[in-house]
Symmetry: D2
Subunit: 185 residues, 4 copies
């Protein structure tokens, strides 16, 4: 068994919806115990508990929301240098394509790296024109199937890496089953 | 009069198409002399000539193509510390949303900053779900009108800033005419 | 005359010390009216007032402090899309070299770009082994002369660009007086 | 046993010197088979062979050198989507502090993420004023002991994660032996 934390901050429910798809994706992998936790209810103990984390927040002014930043600056700070070696990834909803969601994912993964996490994105495309190479991103809510799949896939990959590296189940490695990283035309 | 260089590298014609829209946008502003130059034909003199530049290339492995990087590393290097104070912006086509186009624009603007350029993005949304806050981005070719408008708008803004700061025509300032940065519903 | 705002957040006084050098640098340029304002005392009106800004905060978990982020997310948000075309730059103090000060400057300049600022770094080296290409950075307080010069130089460059582009004094252009961007050996 | 590739590009020997310290650090960990390979001699097979990689290049114009970029764009491209799940980290030598070495490490780790690597930095400080949170960085050559330790430590951490996650030797986990991430005063 491995523990997955999906930690999110949401203002307009867009990132909250993303978080549910991420959690569903992680839960679809054998052996994952998934906690879906909104920022206001999250504690440092949730992060200590997890083996892997997906962190999401709205893209605000091109980077993580101040509320999510405060969690890493203050709530979690006593755990700094005590929780190295967990796995992490990011997701973010912005007002539109080109609005900074990739930059926000980068800020989030940088915060995770600072805490000693090993971070990753996802190689696969979910449609001909949507991928999640540096984290799952959407324009506003994940209303279309591509955005939903991107979020779900992020959770799947998190679960797979935890399966491989924490639960030591080599069958879960994405290369064991991947036919193609590109969608069929 | 102010000089605008639209410098692009393209492999599959996607970024080339973007470049034409950017050039059209710049040319729509009073007093702009626009050169649209493909990387293979570009010289350091083109950059010296310009007052402002828009640089575009494909998103490759999450950042600028090696060919565009080589232009800044080698072709332009003798001009380093001799061309400060020009204006610059970026555009990039990636394989899909979430594929790194924002990160590529950031690499491009960082290269421009290194050469002493003043860089910018665009505040406005071009549709309800497309903006160009850190440069114009597309998923593959700019086939849809939103992507075309994003590219065009980048050129417009480049022309406007050159109009304001080089040609000293305050009437061209975007705040002089903007009603709203958000599209009407 | 042009208006310069040096806006800073400081916890251990390191960034506050940087801010004073930045302000001194800006004030050394002819025609600059400089306000040095700590985050707790800063208002949106300060930003509206300025023609150019230098924003500094501690590097915390590899990016801007949540307090500075909140200023851009909340305090300033009503000015979004109303203040385009100002000039901006960044500075940050981290716990050590390699600690994320460059990444923090990048977050700050991205926030400024989101608000429509034209952002820049500085081409020159201040010593053989210290520059400020993407903003002024220090390891802890600016105790050594190189760190002090980096901060001062950032303010100088901000003043110079405002002199050139707002006050229209071409004599202030750094290329008008620069002999070399590299320090003498 | 786990396989470590230290892949570097060097122009002035600075990054080459860093690479040797990184390789020494990795080799200091039980069970690591380390290859130190200069870019000109590197093949895609070297990357396929490794379980973990440290990639280093000079900071050029604020990001990875075009030669290193070309390796990822062309030499390695046939392996895309076939090598997910390896571990990776970055190092870079810049002309001076504030010169873009952190930004270059970020470009490198982004390229690795694109290829499906799990990337990391190092929590520990190596001296009171030097760390390697997002990769090992130096100003010019690693002449001082702090820069040397930063490079060595990066290799150590790469070896430790490979020990823990590939060789399944929990005794190698940094939290098993760490007393403090901060140096003694």
């Amino acid at each position: 068994m491995a523990n997955v934390l999906v930690l999110y901050h949401s203002v307009t429910d867009c990132t909250a919806q993303m978080a549910r798809y991420v959690a569903d994706g992680a839960a679809s992998i054998k052996g994952m115990d998934v906690r879906l936790v909104e920022l206001g209810a999250a504690t440092a103990e949730d992060v200590v508990w997890c083996d892997g984390i997906a962190v999401g927040c709205p893209t605000q002014i091109g980077t993580a929301s101040w509320q999510m930043k405060r969690f890493f600056d203050e709530t979690l700070v006593d755990q700094w240098a005590k929780i190295d070696g967990k796995f992490g990834c990011a997701f973010s909803s912005s007002g539109g394509w080109g609005g900074g969601a990739e930059l926000t994912c980068q800020t989030i993964t940088n915060m995770l790296i600072n805490y000693g996490f090993l971070v990753f994105g996802v190689v696969e495309y979910v449609t001909q024109t949507h991928t999640l190479h540096y984290g799952a991103v959407t324009a506003k809510a994940p209303r279309d199937e591509a955005s939903q799949q991107a979020c779900f896939k992020l959770g799947v990959r998190l679960g797979e890496w935890l399966g491989v590296y924490v639960d030591r189940d080599a069958d879960l490695h994405p290369l064991a089953t991947r036919v193609s990283a590109l969608p069929s035309s």
